[in-house]
Amino acid sequence: MRQSIRDWFDERVGLDIFERMLQKPLPKRGAWFYTLGSATLTLITLQFITGAFLMFYYVPDGEFAESSIRYITEQVRYGWYLRSMHRWSANLLFIVIGLHIFRVFVSGSFKRPREMTWIIGAFIFWTVIGIGLTGGLLPWDSNAHWIGTVFGNTLSYFPLVGRFLRSALLGGEHVGTLTLTRFYALHVWVLPLVLGILITLHLYLIRKHGLFGSVIEYRDQIRALEAQGVRRESIIVTKMTPDETEPFYPAQVFRDSIIAFSLITLVSLFSTLFPFSPYRGEEPPPTRIIPRPEWFFWSVDEWLMYFPGKLIPIGLVLITLFFLFLPFIPFVERHPEVSPIRRPVSTIIGAWVYLFIIILAMMAGARIFNY
């Protein structure tokens, strides 16, 4: 019976493709680090689900946004829970993505033939930042207003196109009626659509190449290259034998499931213990509004602070170049080895960049909370 159902579908859908995908070999070593990608996917899925349900009540209008959020948190059954899930999961997502990028960088997994996987990953990263930024405005409380203002004015410092960028994004010179609907459209539809397409491509490429390490299938090509006199050092490959790998299903799916379960439990726990109320803390009197960016923008905020007066555009251009540089890493870091120990320069630079970002964020945090 089960076999006949399977065959029915196989004939019409082509199950063998999916079965082959599940059988794709993965390296056994370091397999827990490979769960970071699927952990990211778990949280993104959670964002899509909780976000879709927030849309049932949220109204993207300057007059009603705040009230509708208040209604969600205070009156809709489990509204506070879904909203807090959405926010906590977003926060966790930035940490998990950071770890995923770090593991991919350290293990040299962005090298040939996986450059495109990395490039798509960098685009994904930009998109996620965009979603986080546009989402920050939707509560439309005074903090949201100032986040938007600071962001718009930051853009306005770009040489030549700055003011145009600010107006194009805010829908006018300042944060107002037209800003909210734009950010809403970007946050709930445009950017998630882009993200969905990019993630699909990302996953396709991962399945095409197999995870880093499981490159046994390239062995013949390497022999051929060597026979042509190409030096072995310039051919990137790892020494994996079949007994060092195992199929994706069930071992890796099992690990991924455990991680997914732990993450969702964690988000749920945080949401229950520390739910987000419509007002972050006390409602400050108008003269004492202290705008607070989301923590994942703290390092950028801190960085820009070190470029006062006429230097502001320089700080802005530098940090933009940093983000624009991400997709090019596979073409700059071309060391033949993948092992982090055997390419110490990249490993050290990578670690320093992460440390630098974390220190900047911590300094910003200290400044913001001591003010």
């Binding site: 203002t149 107002g176 502001i312």
Partner: protein
């Protein structure tokens, strides 16, 4: 993919060109309306801006006369036309007496636009965002702000001080929309 005998190279070429042209034409047809649609608020050519407040009352002259050389904060309510809506809102301005003359200046930090506040104890205008500091006349004395707080135009009419163009909140880059309307 295979070139058949009945399909000469010319025909294939033609179709390849045609496919490119077709998609090019689709792009050309769709791009201008989409861009125009998204950027419409930037150009605001068809907006009726007469509904924004031109001159907003700040305070009676008698009250302004009590202002000394330390800035005092005033709340200025005004209307602003934004797309399809006329919004009632308000902003704050500082008033200070400078060389015997009344001066109004903006509370918005010239760095990234955060709302500053006069600190009585420290005798400075302080920006909460990145610690921009200004003196009592709104001149930068520390932190990242590139310029002094914007001084604002005002007029006195019938014993009331009016602020010009209150909707011009971030003097950085403001263009008077009425010139296009």
């Amino acid at each position: 993919m295979n070139q058949t005998a009945e399909e000469p190279i010319g025909r294939r070429h033609f179709m390849e060109r045609a496919i490119l042209s077709i998609f090019g034409a689709i792009g050309v047809m769709l791009t201008p309306p989409i861009l125009g649609y998204i950027l419409s608020p930037v150009f605001r050519i068809r907006e009726d801006l007469s509904q924004s407040t031109r001159w907003a009352p700040v305070a009676p002259v008698s009250e302004m006369e009590t202002v000394g050389d330390l800035p005092r904060t005033f709340d200025v309510p005004y209307r602003v036309k934004e797309g399809w809506r006329v919004r009632e809102t308000s902003r704050q301005v500082y008033a200070v007496r400078k060389g015997g003359e009344l001066a109004l200046f903006s509370t918005f930090c010239t760095h990234l636009g955060c709302p500053t506040a006069w600190d009585d104890a420290k005798r400075m205008v302080i920006c909460p965002c990145h610690g921009g500091l200004y003196n009592n006349f709104g001149e930068v004395i520390g932190g990242p702000p590139p310029r002094n707080l914007a001084s604002l135009e005002y007029k006195v009419e019938n014993g009331v001080v009016y602020l010009k163009d209150p909707a011009n909140v971030y003097e950085v880059g403001w263009k008077d929309p009425r010139k296009r309307a």
